[in-house]
C-alpha cells in the first residue's frame, strides 16, 4: 500500500460503498482509509468492549491494532466476504492473540469504567451491570460466541467463520455460555429464559 501522503480528490461527503473505499484505500488513498475507520470503528470497538469485559483502555489499544493490521493487509482483501465479516474475524483473532499473551482465561470485570446510557433507570442499570458481569465471567470462547451471535447478530455460520471454529463447536460454546450466564444471573436475583 502506498504512503499516507497521497490524498484523495475529496470529491464530496456522499457515503461510498465499502468496495469503492477499499479499492481506493488499497491504492494509497488516505482519506478513503480514514472513512473506512470512521465507518467501522463502532463495530470493532463495540465487539472488543464486550470481549474484554468492558475495558475501554484495552479496547482502544486493540482496536487501533486491528485497524493497523487492516491497513497493512487491505490490498490482499479479495471481496469474498463483506468487510464487516472480515473485520469480525480480524478483531476476534487480535483478541484471542492478546488474551493468549496475557495467559488469562477470565477477564477482569471493570463495570464502572464504561458509562451507561443516561436514560437507564436504577433497576435497568443493575440488570445491565449483572449482564456485563455474567458475560465477563464466561470463558473467552463462550463470551466470543455469545457476543457474535447474540449481540452482533451474526449467523452461526458467520460467527464460526469469524472465530475459526467448526459450526458444531460454535453452537456448543453458545449453549454453554448461555447456561453459565443464566446460572450467574439467577445467583444475582434475575430469572432469565434461554
Amino acid at each position: 500500500m502506498n504512503s499516507l501522503s497521497k490524498v484523495s480528490d475529496a470529491s464530496g461527503t456522499s457515503p461510498l460503498a465499502d468496495e469503492q473505499l477499499i479499492r481506493r484505500a488499497a491504492s494509497g488513498d488516505a482519506e478513503a482509509f480514514r472513512r473506512l475507520v470512521t465507518k467501522h470503528q463502532s463495530q470493532v470497538r463495540g465487539l472488543l468492549l464486550r470481549l474484554t469485559g468492558f475495558d475501554p483502555q484495552r479496547t482502544d489499544e486493540l482496536a487501533q491494532d486491528v485497524f493497523l493490521t487492516m491497513y497493512e493487509t487491505l490490498s490482499s482483501f479479495r471481496f469474498e466476504s463483506s468487510l464487516s465479516t472480515w473485520l469480525y474475524r480480524l478483531t476476534s483473532r487480535h483478541f484471542v492473540d492478546d488474551q493468549r499473551r496475557r495467559k488469562s482465561r477470565i477477564v477482569e470485570v471493570s463495570i464502572e469504567t464504561t458509562p451507561e446510557p443516561i436514560h437507564c433507570d436504577t433497576e435497568r442499570l443493575d440488570l445491565r451491570k449483572s449482564l456485563r458481569a455474567a458475560l465477563a465471567q464466561l470463558k473467552d470462547e463462550e463470551r466470543m460466541a455469545i457476543v457474535l451471535t447474540g449481540m452482533e447478530e451474526l449467523t452461526f455460520v458467520e460467527a464460526a467463520e469469524a472465530m475459526g471454529v467448526p459450526l458444531g463447536t460454535l453452537k456448543t460454546h453458545v449453549l454453554r455460555g448461555k447456561e453459565h450466564m443464566k446460572t450467574f444471573l439467577r445467583q444475582n436475583g434475575y430469572e432469565v429464559e434461554l
Binding site: 500500500m1 502506498n2 504512503s3 499516507l4 501522503s5 494509497g28 488516505a30 482509509f33 480514514r34 475507520v37 470512521t38 470503528q41 463502532s42 470497538r45 463495540g46 468492549l49 464486550r50 482502544d60 482496536a63 487501533q64 485497524f67 493497523l68 491497513y71 497493512e72 446510557p117 440488570l127 445491565r128 449482564l131 456485563r132 455469545i146 447474540g150 449481540m151 452482533e152 447478530e153 448461555k178 450466564m181 443464566k182 444471573l185 434475575y190 430469572e191 432469565v192 429464559e193 434461554l194
Partner: protein, 94 residues
Amino acid sequence: MKLDDLLKDMRQEIPDNGFTDRVMTRIEEDLPAWDLDHVTSFFVEIGIFIFGVFALKSSLIQTIFTHLDLSTMGLFALGGLLIAALISQDMVLE
C-alpha cells in the same frame, strides 16, 4: 425476560471521540513509508552493486587483488551488496 432480548439490548453505538485520528496518527508514526523509499533504496543498492563490480574490474583494484581469483572477487561483490542493502534498510527505517 429472555436472555437473547437482553443481549440485543446491550448493543450500543460507540462514538468516535477522536479514535479515527488516533489510528491515522499511529499509521503515520508506526508504519514505514514503503513505496517511494523502497523504490529509492532499491536503485541505490543496484547502483552500489554496479559500481562495486566496475571497481573490481578496474585495473587498479585488479592490481591490488591480483592474487585473488574470480570467485573471491565475487564474494567481495556480494559482501558489498549486503552492506549496501543493510545501509539502505537503515535509511528506510530512519
